[in-house]
Structures are given as C-alpha cells and as structure tokens.
C-alpha cells in the first residue's frame, strides 16, 4: 500500500460527508423560518454530522492503512482489506480471467491506481486499491504474464 492512500481515503470520505453536510445546509436555508423543524434541531443535526464526519475522516484511513495488505505470488493473489469489517480474499493465479487497472479522478490527483482481478466467479473479484502507479503497472504485467501461461477456461 502506498502511504498516499491514507490521504486518498480521507479525501474520498470527506467528499462524501461534504455532500451530506451540503444537503443539510440547503435544507436549513430552504426551511428558513423553521416550519418543518426548529432551527436548533437543524443546527444540532449539523453538529452531529460534523462530529461523526471528522471522526470518520481521521480514524478510518489510519485504520484502513493498518489493515490493508496485498501479495501476489506466482501461484495466488491475496488481499486483506476493510477496517470495521475486514475481509481476506485469495484466488489462484491459474483461475484469473481478467486483470483491470483503473484510475478514477480522485485517484489521479493522488497519483494512485487500483488493480482488479476477476475470476469466473461473480463472488470473488479481488481488488487491490491504493497502489502507486508503477506498482500497479508492474502487478498487472506480472499477473497477465502468469495467467496467460495457464491453459483451460478457468471455471
């Protein structure tokens, strides 16, 4: 995991919370004279959201960074991800069907990339997120090369 991923996760979470806060502010302004809810309730709601948001944005990325791990050997791909709910996923290289690398707008700002490895099962795509670009490219090349070497339709 690249250390920058912490900032990326924080930014992504912050953006999500900003949308919620903005919606609350819009409601407060539109409500104006406080017909539906008294203004104090609005402000209390905003305060609660802000506190939860700050806690989430500060704690979650660090926690995630401590949890997230990945490893690719010549035989299998392994990831450990999540924070509150954690998940380990493992799939043998011989069963890999596609290897995708993706860079969303936010990931581009932080110069990160993620790699998704899919198998024939819809339940088991393995996503390695928060890699720096070089590592992601290297991983894709490595996996593609080893996956090509195995025959069969991988089901």
């Amino acid at each position: 995991m690249s250390r920058t991923a912490v900032w990326y996760w924080a930014a992504r979470a912050a953006l999500g919370w900003l949308v919620i806060l903005a919606a609350q502010v819009v409601w407060l302004v539109a409500d104006g004279d406080g017909t539906a809810l008294p203004v104090t309730a609005h402000v209390a709601g905003l305060a609660v959201t802000a506190v939860v948001a700050v806690a989430h944005v500060t704690v979650m990325p660090q926690w995630r960074y401590r949890v997230h791990r990945w490893e690719a050997t010549s035989a299998a791909v392994f990831t450990q991800s999540g924070w509150f709910k954690q998940e380990w996923r493992i799939a043998p290289v011989s069963r890999i069907q596609t290897v995708d690398s993706e860079r969303g707008p936010l990931e581009q700002i932080f110069r990160l990339a993620n790699v998704t490895v899919t198998t024939a099962s819809a339940a088991g795509p393995i996503k390695v997120s928060g890699l720096d670009r070089d590592t992601a490219q290297r991983l894709v090349a490595e996996l593609t090369a080893t996956a090509q070497a195995t025959a069969g339709d991988a089901t």
Binding site: W63, R66, V67, R69, E71, T73, A75, A76, F78, Q80, F84, K85, Q86, E87, W88, R89, I90, A91, P92, R95, T119, A120, S121, A122, A123, G124, I126, A154, T155
Partner: protein
Amino acid sequence: MIDVVETTLAWRRLSPRMLVIHPFQEVVRAAPALLGLLVAGSSSGGQGHLWSVAGVALMVVLGMLRWFTTTYRITPEHVQVRRGLLNRKVVTVPRDRVRTVDVTSHVLHRVLGLARVEVGTGMSERRHEGRLKLDALTAAEAARLRVELLHRSPAAAMASSTVSSTVLSSTVSPVAPPAGSTPAAETELARMRPQWVRFGPFTMSGLVTVGVVAGFVSRLVSEGNVDLGRVGPVQETWRWFSAMSLPLEIATVVLVLVVFVSVASTLGYVLAFGNFRLTRHTEGTLHVTRGLLTTRATTIEERRLRGVEVGEPLLLRAVRGARLSAVTTGLRSAQGAQRGGSLLLPPAPRADAVAVARLVLPRVADAPSVSASEASPVTASLTAHGPAALRRRFTRAYGVHALVLAALLALWWWAGLPSWTWVTAAALLPLTALLAADRYRSLGHALASGYLVTRWGSLARRRVALECDGVIGWNIERSFFQRRAGLATLTATTAAGKQGYQVRDVDLAEALRLAAAGTPGLLDPFLVEAAAPLSPNSM
C-alpha cells in the same frame, strides 16, 4: 460430413405454427382487461377500452413480426440467432460453451406440437448478452437440437439422418425421450411417485396462486369498473362474515387461507412435477423432464456439475421432506428452485433426495467401494460451530427483535399506533429464541470425499455440497463483532450456482484449516507470514 455442413449452414426459421400462438398468447395476457370490457359493456363509454383493444392488436402484430425476423442456424462451431426488426442483432455462441439446454412447452405449445428451446451458457448468465431463446420449434426439432448441442460426438453422425426425418416424426410427444437418442443409452435415476404428492401442501407454492388470483380480481375491478360490493354472493358472504366475533373472524380467515393455499400448492405440485423423471445419458448428461400441462425438459452436462443443494424449508422439514437442486455452471439457482432449471428432485422424502444426490455426485458415484452413508457429502455428520456462534445467533435474533419492538413502542407512544402491535411483538419473544436455537442447530460444515459441505438457515435450511475442484478462491470476512468473538465467515467462490457459498460464523482457525484442506497448497505461502497481522485480536 459435407452434406451435414451444407444443411446446417442454412438459416432456419422458427415453426410457422407460432403465427397461431402469438395472437392467442397476447389475448390471454390481456384477458383481465378484455373480460372487464365484456362485463362492463359499453355503458361506461369513453375511449379507454378502444385503446386497450388497439394495444392488444399491436402486440399481436409485433409478435407475428417476430417470427418473420427471427432465424437461427447451427454451424459446426457456433449457434447463431438473428433477430430484431429495426435493430438487427446476431447472437453467436460457441458450441463448446453450451452448458445446458432447456426445452419448455406450454399447454398451447403442446397442442400444436411445439417446444421452446433455451440454451444456457456460463457467459450469458453474467452479462445479459448472448442469451439464446428459440420460441418455438417443433417438438422433434427441439429434441434433435438438444441432442446435437450437448452430445457432441454422436451429433455429427446423427444430424444427417435426423434432418430429413424430423418433419415426419413431428407428432412425437415432448414427454417422450428425445428423438435420436436410443432409449438404451439412458438410465433412470428417479421417477415421480404418487405418494410424493403428500409434500405438495407443504411447499407453500399456493401463496403465489393467491397473489395471482388477487391480482386478477383487482385488475378486473379496476379495468371493468365492477363494484364488488354490489355482486350478490359477495354481499351475502360479507354479511355472514361481519356477524361473527373477532376471534372467530380471525380463525375463519386463517382456516380459509390454509385450506386454499394447501389445495393450490398440491395442485401446483402435481402440475409442475407430474411425470417427473431424472435420467442419466451415457454421453454424460443428466436429463430432467417434468410437468403435466407445461412440460419442461432440462439437460445438464455432468462435467459442469459442481455439487448439489439440499433445500429443506421449515414446513417441508417438519414432514421429513427435501428438495434437491444442482449446483452447476451455466445455471443460476438464484431465481428459486422451481423456476430455475437446476431442479434435480421435487419435494420428496429426504431419504430419496439423499439417494439421488449420491447417484448424481460424480465422485461419490464413481467410488462404489466407499462405505455407504458415512462418506456421502449429503449425509456426512457436520462439525458444529461452537458456543460463540450460538451466542451470536441469539444476540442477532434478539437484536433485530428488540429493534422492531423499540420502533413499535415509539410509534405507539408518539404516533398513536394501536397497542396490540407491540404486545404481539413482545409475546413473540420466545419464538425468537426457538428460531435462534434452530438457526444454530442448522449451522455446520464438513469436508467429505472431496466435497465442501456447508449448512445454514432455519426457515429455509440449505445444505450445499460443493466439489473442492470447483472452488476458485476463498473470501474470509470478519466484522468488528465477529473479530471480538473470534469468528469468521468463510466464502468459497465458484463459477457455479450462486457463485459463492458461505460457511457462516465459524471459528477462525477452523475456517483457515477448512480452506487449506479444501484447496491444498493455495493458502500455504500466506498462512505462515500472515500469522502476525491476522491474529484474532488485531484491529
């Protein structure tokens, strides 16, 4: 061989008899509206009725156009279907990707000697492209197509001889074994027995009928402007009903519902599973035929079979019944065991389900020396998940119950909900305990003769035996609370059936042991070094 290629390369049309079926189907589908028209007459006036008639006519014309625009052909490598009027589309499926062939004939199809063919490929299930449906061919043509698609080696030899004969033999009933395959080549594994009908009332499929009837009545009322309150018999019944006391009213409603659902379920059971037969062909396919009015024939390639699922809904379990479905690539069991084509045995005595499972599972069937019941993945005793899992069942069940209770209390306090709602909810607390205990009792897993076995659920208990070779990878999921209890949910991912089967709330060490034993070697490089960061008390 050249002759075969020549004949199969030509684009073929669906049966022209579909031109009769399409108008009929559309009229049946629009029946409530049309019936409403008849009942209401033209007294209410307005343009609405004219529009619905025009709509039906348009559907009929479109349906008939579909026959003119749809053609198909089978080349030595591909199955191709060309369809669409404005948006022409050619769907091509490589023949070696064909996993299952499903032949269905509704009543009308059968009267005219037709059958609908659906070709299942692993691909089409995930992305919605490449779905192959031929509605409809003559029954003989459909049967020949099935043989041709699934039994590859004899198909080429057979094709030349059957192409000419299909026209003559089109009177063959769809229930009969497929034309072209010799009867000697199949062995019967199971057949419907009349005693099985006793499981009919316990399938609850009649609930669907209740819904359909209710829907039909409501459409009739809304489109035909029929006022139910003014119909004589309805009025009579209502007067009689409202004269009773409340407990008697409730008892009557429950009794009527129970009787109606039982009768409808039994009827549904007989219609859906009458004439049920499960056979194995020497070419390596399993063949399921069933249905009295609507016949359905499904063919599953045995080398795509990854396991079986034994379903025991609570009611069925109470009478020692079970149903069996296949876990196979190319067929999804998600849309219900009855609708999906993966059914291997309708609700039947549990012993029969177990016996059929043993016959069907390739690894078990191939090893006759294995001592009978112990080794079968369907009967092998399961490892329980321990006290932590039991506690978790109770906390979860009571957590949900407490939430519901709190919500009802709050609504009663602030929104004036009648008090009997939360009183009933509180009275159901002991039932929740029973449910939690039974859910725990169902939990279990095992590794038996090369199969991963997992069982879960109470209201709908399922036991899945999944071939370890069919396991692609593993997911181990641990929520915060599971980590505190030292538990994990292990998911075996696979290309078959539901794509992933879970072993719920199992001890972490046991989960890792199971995964390591199921796919030898896969986890080894990770287990050793993973020990430090993955220990149960890590964050």
